[in-house]
């Protein structure tokens, strides 16, 4: 009889501290040794992890009311503007928003990291004043103890796959993929490959709305498909399928997060971004799912894209796998090109390991998706100009 486990059965074992959990690296040699059938019988959960720059991130904060109260129309946190078009003292601080005074050196991501670290954040807000909210200005300090709620809410995180960036021009380029040296002087990429959550469940068989995840050091949830969710698979050559474009919208309590797993970053000449640590447990419900988590860096391919062409569709310079990328050198058009990762493999591993330990200690239980993601008929839409 092939294994057919349920989330409930796995949670029962977690509760009794009898669940068998491995991370997405450890599972590979184990299955090679014991075979899929036996390993599926033995293993309950495989944990994944990623720690990369995720621009589409931000936090909702409710500051609490002052006396007399104010309906904030314009808000700055440490001189970084937050979106105030919500109720009186609700705001959304976006990770990539830049400081009015420090510009690219400090942004929304830094506000979020400082907030998590418990630092005082300077709040300035303006209002036209109303009969019910007469105050027109406030300047004060907030911190994670002083505010009502602080919720990390990221519309697009945990990219399934991302291309390799290279530059064929004569000029150094400053991009969101880091600094690209002229004449293919280097190449950058950004995923945790075999440890990455969405490579380990590429068909979204276990991941969906409601999935409980490790987010920034605490427990969070997947609340929707991510923006630009486009999880089509591409057959680049016989038997070689590339998954790309799956993304996740995630949410969690910012107050409980740790700056070990949420970090502000500056990409010189480009802007500010937020490194977000995400770990997702994959329940081994059956052999089909076990086959998915066996994915190795050498089986995962990504496209090398020339960033020197500043258009939506940039030229492709071929395909490469993550084993080659992680070895530090790839061959592009006959030239040896050194590679750099922007996401941290060491941190991804740490996150997958931490999630594993939390499950083993019965601090983390699996949540069956309330709804899975539809993968049919999705296609990236273009923004057209009026002619």
């Amino acid at each position: 009889m092939p294994v057919n486990r349920t989330f409930e059965e796995i949670n029962c074992k977690i509760k009794k501290k009898k669940a068998v959990v491995l991370n997405a690296e450890e599972i590979i040699p184990l299955v090679e040794e014991r075979g899929i059938k036996k390993a599926t019988e033995e293993i309950d959960v495989v944990t994944t992890g990623t720690f990369g720059p995720m621009c589409s991130s931000g936090a909702i904060i409710n500051f609490g009311h002052s006396d007399p109260p104010i309906r904030m129309k314009k808000i700055w946190l440490n001189d970084v503007e937050a979106y105030a078009g919500l109720a009186a003292v609700d705001a959304y601080i976006g990770a990539t928003q830049l400081s009015e005074s420090k510009n690219i050196e400090y942004g929304g991501a830094h506000v979020i990291e400082d907030f998590i670290s418990g630092k005082q954040i300077k709040l300035k807000a303006l209002s036209p004043g109303t009969d019910c909210y007469p105050r027109r200005e406030i300047e004060t300090y907030i911190n994670k103890e002083s505010v009502n709620q602080a919720i990390l809410f990221n519309p697009r995180n945990s990219y399934q796959n991302y291309n390799v960036a290279i530059n064929t021009s004569q000029r150094k380029l400053y991009t969101y993929m880091g600094i690209l040296l002229p004449e293919m002087g280097n190449a950058t990429y950004s995923t945790s490959g075999q440890l990455s959550p969405l490579f380990n469940d590429p068909y979204f068989m276990t991941i969906g709305i409601g999935t409980r995840i490790f987010l920034g050091g605490t427990q969070g949830y997947i609340i929707w498909e991510g923006t630009q969710f486009f999880p089509q698979s591409l057959n680049i050559e016989k038997g070689r399928i590339v998954h790309r474009g799956g993304t996740l919208a995630v949410i969690g309590n910012l107050k409980e997060m740790s700056s070990e797993y949420i970090r502000a970053a500056v990409f010189k000449g480009y802007g500010v971004s937020l490194y977000v640590g995400i770990g997702i447990p994959i329940p081994i419900l059956n052999e089909e799912i076990m086959k998915c988590v066996l994915i190795k860096d050498e089986d995962i391919y990504t496209e090398i894209i020339d960033y020197s062409i500043p258009r939506l569709e940039r030229p492709s310079l071929g395909w490469v796998n993550y084993k080659q990328l992680r070895e530090g050198k790839i061959i592009v058009k006959g030239k040896e090109v050194p590679t750099s990762s922007l996401s941290s493999y060491a941190k991804a591993r740490e996150i997958a390991q931490k999630l594993k330990e939390e499950i083993l200690k019965a601090n983390f239980f699996l949540q069956k998706p309330i709804q899975t993601f539809s993968q049919e008929g999705v296609a990236l839409k273009k923004l057209l100009e009026i002619h």
């Binding site: 720690f51 950058t188 970090r263 922007l342 060491a346």
Partner: protein, 135 residues
């Protein structure tokens, strides 16, 4: 034969002294200038790789110090903040001399100061601002 990388800091007063010449001639040292930054009337910095007998290197550097020139080991001026570093590796492919690499087993960053020429490329490539050069 030992090797040492040092950063010499000159003030406007001692900037005109022919220090490298004296290190070569009087202390029998091989001096390789890795980088030099000087501004008129302001002094500047000189990054040197010095080779020679250990005793002679120490004596030579003592002589330089006595002239009022600041002497720091390269490691003291290229600061890698291990706590801030997340081991992503963004700095690796930008480095012209192969100072940086990820450990094959732990995937944590290694910083080989011996190969560093203080070009500063890694400083601008690091998204976390974990590398600083006092220069």
């Amino acid at each position: 034969m030992t090797k040492k990388k040092v950063i010499l800091t000159f003030s406007p007063i001692n900037v005109e002294k022919p220090i490298t010449f004296q290190l070569v001639k009087n202390y029998d040292l091989w001096v390789n200038i890795l980088q030099a930054k000087f501004k008129p009337n302001l002094g500047g910095k000189l990054v040197l790789e010095i080779r020679g007998e250990k005793g002679k290197i120490d004596k030579g550097l003592n002589f330089v110090k006595q002239l009022g020139v600041g002497v720091e080991l390269l490691e003291q001026e290229v600061l890698w903040d291990r706590e801030r570093c997340i081991d992503c590796g963004a700095c690796i492919s930008i480095c012209p001399t192969g100072v940086l690499c990820l450990d094959k087993v732990t995937f944590r960053l290694n910083f080989n100061y011996d190969k560093c020429i203080v070009c500063g490329y890694c400083v601008e490539a690091c998204p976390l601002g974990a590398i600083k050069i006092i220069f």
